[in-house]
Amino acid sequence: MSAQKTAQDQDDVLAMLADSINVWVGKLSEIVQRIVDVGPIRSVVNWGRIYSLWPVNITTACCSAEFGAASGARHDLERFGVLPLGSLRQSDLLVAEGTITKKMAKRLRMIYDQMAIPRYVIAMGDCAISGGLFHDSYSIVNGAHEFIPVDVYVPGCPPRPEALEQAIIMLQEKIRHSKVYERG
């Protein structure tokens, strides 16, 4: 009994120390959040996020042809900072292009979970909004919002590249006015 008591005392001291450091660090991170999420620093951080929205290298269905055309020479998406480069972990944008089958939905959800915060989703095409032309088919999911949170919806079958550019601009506006630590 006495051996346990001394162990408990030692544990208590360490635990109390750990707790107080925890509280101190927690309060510190709250303070950092409050400082960053205000005026100038927030604008700078959001400016960095807006002009480097890197999408994931995943194509879902036929809207990928218009995404490809939008990345091409006439409607260059790279001038908005959109460049599919690097790995999944370094990407911030998931463009659900076109019809999402149940088989692809599982993978899209895995990809969304693996992306680092902040992450944004554009549902491109009628099929990603509500199932589109194939809405009654046996193998598809009626819309991307069934399993991932969507930020911008782009209608069209397929949407013109100009519509996709407008979607990126809308997303940029949305990010510009949002808090830095909001995404969770």
Binding site: K102, K103, S137, Y138, S139
Partner: protein
């Protein structure tokens, strides 16, 4: 352009001469489209004859049709020949009927290796098993659909 149906009639005659009892029906549907109806148990020999003697060196595809009102499935193999330029337009349809409640058929993968994926698709869409196929599994519908084979007529759409 050849307008008569001589070449197609000649092909059918050769087939009927060689397999008088195995081929139950034979006709020319329209230009360049002869078709024969074969008993399921003789399918492999007829197909081998088509490939070796009549030069049908590849299969264009395998289709399954669900004639549920007649309680049968029909499997159609389309094949054609690339050897001579003059006969490249002919697509021979080889049909077989199997009963709907015992959907089993012989695979033609030993005759035309290209029918591999088509037979797998017919398996997953209709539930017809092909004996002799090395990998009788789903092709497109893994994780996509866990109900009955979707192209059967009893599977209805919500909007139908």
């Amino acid at each position: 352009m050849i307008l008569s149906q001589e070449r197609e009639q000649a092909l059918i005659k050769k087939l009927k001469d060689r397999f008088p009892s195995e081929i139950t029906e034979a006709r020319v549907v329209r230009r360049s489209r002869p078709e024969i109806l074969v008993k399921p148990e003789n399918l492999v020999e007829v197909a081998t004859f088509l490939r070796d003697e009549l030069g049908m060196d590849h299969a264009n595809g395998v289709s399954g049709v669900d004639y549920n009102r007649e309680a049968r499935f029909e499997i159609i193999y389309h094949c054609s020949s690339l050897q001579n330029k003059e006969t490249r337009d002919i697509v021979m349809a080889i049909k077989e009927s199997i009963p709907r409640n015992t959907p089993k058929a012989r695979s033609l993968i030993s005759v035309w290796p290209g029918v591999d994926n088509f037979e797998r698709e017919t398996f997953e869409m209709f539930g017809i098993t092909f004996d002799g196929h090395p990998r009788m599994e789903k092709l497109f519908l893994t994780d996509n659909w866990d109900g009955p084979p979707p192209l059967r007529k009893e599977v209805r759409f919500p909007t139908d």
